[in-house]
Symmetry: C2
Subunit: 475 residues, 2 copies
């Protein structure tokens, strides 16, 4: 059924001219995903300024049969905020709803609108001597609504959990335009089914998150950052478990980095970034610990654990950052792989997870498999291994064109996913399903789980108006 | 429609004679709730020994139209595991499914069956140098399935969250007898809707949790316990926020205790338990901090924060436990109020929560209201105030019979709940809804939330076979 586009006039009445964009030049900024690889062709871009306007827009679109694609900062990596050309739809961008409604330091809570940029939220928490502990590369442009709708992860998940774990309450515009006012700031509330978890991580397919009440945490008083050289990924997993225990969970980040990050930075980025140049190692760990006291007790605990690890050959060397500049330099090594991937002229990306103890076996098996499929390809797995989350990325062989390598993508991806699944893993640890992994999800997800997901979709969006064709195929 | 009771023979074939109890003397242990105040009249008690037997039992009961009431340790306080006499049903007790299937210290995970007693799970974690951080009074008899189905809280929620926050994966027998095998042990998995949260806290009304994969944490190396005298509940909230910040969230428990706990223990339990007898105070806080190092650094941080609090009049005195015996003695004060309540000859109980900063206002308003309603009644609010969770309990007036006081229960409860709700609070913080709060939930929950809950129920249990009449009225 084709939507009734006369709804655009009614939408303009409801949202005002600034709230309804229909000129291609005005829509361009919203109509292309961050990586520029998905063509988006919305009928209009809606930019409501309030929950009431969002609700009015949904009611009008629902009546007209016009689907809605909710959008935050448009930084997603799974095509979840793309308006597919073959399916006329309105993009609903929440960027004008960006207020921090209330921050209560005594309650350790903040209530914020969906369009607020993550970095602004983190700065507001800092200013109140609190911490909002979710941090990821896109934090300067991604929004609260986006991180909640995709259940974002990032570099602090090890200690503070995923985005959904940080939520106390939600305000949601439902598929029929009703507003669920669930902005509670209760730490405990056992009064029936937990409705907020339906919408968290649902990528806008069940409703539109317009605001959230989030947990805040104490602001750390001291951060210790270290970089360790490791013989293999087994050592990384053993070291992370030991450091968790030795520091009573003061471990905030534990990132695996392959040698390729250092060699690739020299070659493709022209940067010399090796923090331990005396003895090159195949693997490294970037570790960060945070403490509520500035006295260095935590560093001494970590040093004792590292000394024991050195004696046992679990690590080969390690260095602590002694200044913020040194800390930035250590993080630079962790941040290099994605940048190298953009310069290497052809790379395949995977966002998989496995049980933490299975990380070494997964990396070994995946590497054997992909180098057999495409001899000479260069895997550079990195990321949040203490959560079991590996960005298993692969650069093209030196002697193969990027085009030829990317043409092998479907085959390579399927193989990597199958190996993760054989270890009871996931094909999307933190990036979500969106459009790009939708069909792969149909292939790998047990039929019963897909059936339960379809029942949730039918129960909350019976007309199929909310971000249709994302996560699940259209009914 | 009356169920077809010829199903009992088929159930006995499927579960064996030990799996189907029909004699009143055999059923008695399961048929009465812990407090003995709800009469339970099951058609049979089913005791499956495996997931497959549980699934077979559900299939048979579903086909016969015989509702199922799932039951763990039968320690619930909301009547959720009671088979109502007016509604023929089978009690399905999970006590025979009590295996710890796998504990992986490297992964910090454990997979355990629903019937496993919480205390056994905690001991198994300790033995592996790990911690399962959920602790409550009934831990010697409550089960994993029960704590997950009620999303239990307890004394460590402040640091580790509620039961649902500790779950990585579930195995669930659905209402049609299919088994959802969701026992993942992934820290990150964004592949569609998060199905486990549907069943967690659903009190067995959407399916039967048969096993779970749970998070483990580092085992603390040192515990510091202190008891502080406070002028008022405001001081408790301010002190908890300060200690959280001063110790970077090493605060594991922060419990408010009223003077009534000490005076009532002397009078009703014959125990002298005042840890600070020199200067009686109206309010106290029991505080516990845990650390990953045994060096006492955390205690020094806490002492510095307490010294500042003393200077500012936020606390009047404080004492640290210097031995395990002293620690037990301090906890005794926190544990006294529920025992006093059973001896006082008539007490009303409330399990409410409000935003943390609203605790003092809630206590003041509730106390003014209930003493106006029933002059002379003796409120003794206590509990997990740093989570905003107050067990607002009230002893009968000295001059009124317990019977006369309890007859005022409905009126008093409604008033206390309305005051909690006026502060955007909850009428059930950690105990759940079950049977006893079902009608009150209908009164206070917004119509839209009840509608969304009914849609979840219809989507997952269309025949209404799973614990009917609990949480929601029967359709």
């Amino acid at each position: 059924m084709q939507p009734d586009l006369s709804v655009l006039a009614a939408l303009t009445s409801a949202l005002g001219p600034a709230g309804v964009l229909t000129q291609p030049s005005d829509m361009a900024a919203y109509a292309t995903d961050q990586r520029g690889i998905a063509v988006s062709a919305p009928v209009a871009v809606l930019r409501p300024a309030s929950t009431q306007e969002t609700a009015a827009a949904v009611r009008l679109c629902a009546a007209a049969g016009l689907p809605i694609v909710p959008q935050g900062g448009n930084t997603g990596l799974a095509g979840g905020a793309v308006a597919r050309p073959e399916r006329p739809a309105a993009l609903l961008n929440l960027g004008r709803m960006d207020r921090i409604r209330e921050l209560d330091a005594l309650d350790y809570t903040v209530t914020v609108e969906a369009g607020c940029i993550l970095q602004r939220l983190r700065e507001a928490a800092d200013a109140a001597d609190r911490q909002f502990p979710l941090s990821l590369a896109a934090e300067g442009s991604c929004t609260v609504g986006g991180i909640l709708s995709t259940n974002a992860g990032g570099v602090m998940t090890l200690r503070y959990g995923n985005a959904r774990d940080l939520v106390l309450g939600l305000e949601v515009v439902l598929a029929d335009g009703q507003v669920w006012q669930g902005l509670r700031r209760l730490r405990k509330d056992n009064t029936g089914y937990d409705l907020k978890h339906l919408f968290l991580g649902a990528e806008g397919t069940l409703g539109i998150i317009t605001a959230a009440t989030l947990k805040l945490f104490p602001r750390p008083r001291r951060t210790d950052t270290l970089f360790a050289a490791l013989p293999d990924p087994d050592a990384a997993i053993a070291l992370s478990a030991r450091l968790r225990n030795a520091t009573a969970d003061a471990l905030t980040a534990f990132e695996l980095v392959p040698r390729f990050a250092i060699d690739g930075a020299a070659r493709y980025l022209g940067e010399q970034i090796d923090p331990l140049p005396a003895a090159p190692s195949p693997w490294y760990a970037l570790v960060e610990l945070t403490s509520g006291s500035a006295d260095g007790a935590l560093r001494r605990q970590a040093e004792a654990a590292l000394a024991a690890a050195l004696d046992e050959g679990l690590i080969q060397d390690a260095v602590f950052a002694e200044s913020e500049a040194q800390r930035r330099a250590l993080w630079r090594v962790r941040e290099a792989p994605p940048e190298i991937g953009r310069k290497v002229g052809g790379a395949l990306h995977h966002d998989v997870s496995v049980p933490v103890s299975r990380v070494p076996a997964f990396i070994a098996e995946a590497t054997a498999a992909v180098t057999a499929l495409v001899p000479g390809c260069r895997p550079y797995p990195f990321g949040h291994v203490a959560d079991g989350n590996i960005h298993y990325n692969i650069a093209r062989p030196e002697t193969m064109s990027g085009e030829a390598f990317l043409a092998r993508g479907p085959e390579v991806k399927r193989r990597v996913h199958d190996i993760a699944l054989a270890h009871n893993g996931s094909i999307s640890a933190e990036h979500g399903i969106g459009l790009f992994k939708r069909d792969e999800l149909q292939r790998v997800k047990p039929a019963l789980e897909l059936e339960l997901m379809r029942r949730m979709k039918a129960a909350l969006d019976p007309a199929g108006i909310m971000n249709p064709g994302k996560v699940l195929p259209e009914a």
